[in-house]
Amino acid sequence: MNLRPDPTFHATPKLAMEAPAETLAFTLMLSADGSQPDGLAVIDVDPKSGTYGQIVHQLIMPNKGDEFHHFGWNACSSALSPLTGHAFLERRYLIVPGIRSSRIYVIDVKEPLKAKIHKIIEPEEVFAKTGYSRPHTIHCGPEGIYVSTLGGGGADGTDGPPGIFIMDCESFDILGRYEMDRGQQDKHYDFWWNLPRDYMVSSEWGLPPQFENGLVAEDLLSNKYGHKIHFWNLRERRNVQTIDLGENHQMALEIRPAHDPAKDYGFCGVVVDTTNLQGAIFTWWRKADGTFEARKTITIDPRPEKAENLPPLLQGFEAVPPLVTDIDLSLDDKYLYVACWGLGEMHQYDVSDPMKPKLAGKVEIGGIARGAKHPNGKPFAFGPQMVEISRDGKRVYWTNSLYSTWDNQFYPDDDGGQMVMANVGANGGLELDKDFYIEFPKGYRSHQIRLEGGDCSTDSFCYPSV
């Protein structure tokens, strides 16, 4: 407990943008074949530092086979709501779940170069206390730390639906399930919310048998992956509305609400439209009567490609689907970054008008049957994937791995982990930084990035920017 609110907590997104720039990044490293334990890399992102662009510390876990994916902080700007009474927490611990093992690590990064494991929650405890498995997205909110899961109970995670559980934000004890009435929700992926307006939005990927051993083509072509988004009364823990984006819109993944809580809209990325292989972004918004609506506002076309250049999975289509796997919104709610992991492109859309996004910038790197190199001449395995934006919106970082078994299906010849950074132009536009290129140690791929002091996919704000 601090005597003053943590200096990295900000009342509004605007104040967060004005805060000092990040000097460190935390990136998850995963051993795709499970032969080594996964780890956390601490990366120097301070251009004034002598070790800029280098991994300055690695914390390797004591177990193998966790498969690190997403992670989050124990506390963020949401703590500044007097309703919750958490204003004096420290932003100090990273909550890192293994989506294959269901084990959760709490890592103390108070001294980032001496990052250490504070607590390990074993899978059995997660199963016993929640009936869920395969923990994924982390957000700190009113009742503590919320963790979304991808699986229900049982060995293959199909015994009951997946959902969200809550952890105590100080002791890190698992408190139990979040949902009181889940309505139609039977799959899960991401979630986020608008705290003052008291609603939450969640999305769907697929059940564990649909992803753990790779993408199941028959399930995809018969539209059996998730295609709905769910709206919840956050504090009543009740699903109040489900919107079906259409069953051809397979895998509705990242949910990105506007950061300014006075704005009642947000975005959701859809990996692939099975009718035409397009990637899509939906804009969802809350109407005056409190109900929600969603409309497709961005489509990204596939690229025709000769079958012989394609992995077996795609040969029948003779095209490279964009595969929109991650999206991220800058803190001023102006630019939406869309990772096209299949094409090997990072798109920047101006979403000042959320119903009419305009492509403002684009970078090509990696990609199926393209393998565009970094401007420094080095290779970039797979395509742009997990993306994170600096608080001030000037730098965009991303890594390259989607999920171990899926990497192998879509990019059978690639391996390796890289993290790159692009600079954002004063009036939009995106350009890769020649001098920032992280190669992860051999055998490791890289996934989500967290920036010291919070970033554009961690912090939730309780006060509007004025």
Binding site: R4, A11, L15, G85, G144
Partner: protein, 193 residues
């Protein structure tokens, strides 16, 4: 207590009226919490010959709560379940959880004692009415003072200081508050005996 919620409400609704509506809701909730604690004591005072015992009991209760809050510094999680639209309820529960009503009890009992020096002669019904009246007065004065000070912060931040002031001015007073509960309890014990 809770004045940043009034700032948030006004900014979210983009109207200054929401600031005052929120302050009013917070005040009503707080007042109800004061009344809920003070009124039972005013009824207890009907047992005039037990007055000293009641005062001692109240002081011990206060010391007990203060001590509990010193050692248990965790915030009650049920407060986080209250939706932001129910500010009066939140204010009531927050005041209860922090023992704000209990804090007033020794002061209230002290006032009653000075007023009723010849309480023995008064009719029981007058005594009751008088006690309830004083309880209401104490609750109202306290709530007004709290709302005025919180309101000044809220209006100041909303109109001039900006939200940066919120994080700058916010101190963790949990320990100070818990200690002051103990202190008031001890002082009232000393005064009684």
């Amino acid at each position: 207590m809770g004045w940043p919620l009034a700032v948030s409400a006004a900014l979210m609704d983009r109207t200054r009226g929401s600031l005052y509506r929120a302050l009013l809701a917070l005040a009503v909730g707080h007042l109800l919490a004061m009344v809920a604690v003070l009124f039972p004591f005013s009824v207890l005072l009907f047992l005039a010959e037990w007055q000293r015992a009641i005062q001692t009991g109240a002081a011990v209760l206060l010391i007990g709560l203060g001590t509990y809050l010193i050692f248990n510094r965790r915030h009650p999680r049920f407060l986080a379940r209250v939706p932001p639209s129910r500010l009066a309820l939140w204010s009531f529960l927050a005041a209860m959880a922090h023992g704000a009503g209990l804090m007033l009890v020794p002061i209230y009992l002290g006032i009653c004692r000075t007023v009723e020096t010849d309480a023995g002669h008064a009719a029981a019904s007058d005594l009751m009415a008088g006690n309830v009246g004083i309880a209401s007065l104490v609750a109202v004065v306290h709530t007004l003072a709290m709302t005025l000070s919180g309101g000044l912060f809220a209006v100041g931040v909303y109109h001039w200081l900006g939200l940066r002031f919120l994080t700058k001015s916010w101190f963790n007073l949990d320990l100070v508050w818990a200690s002051s509960l103990v202190l008031v309890g001890v002082i009232s014990l000393l005064v009684i005996h």
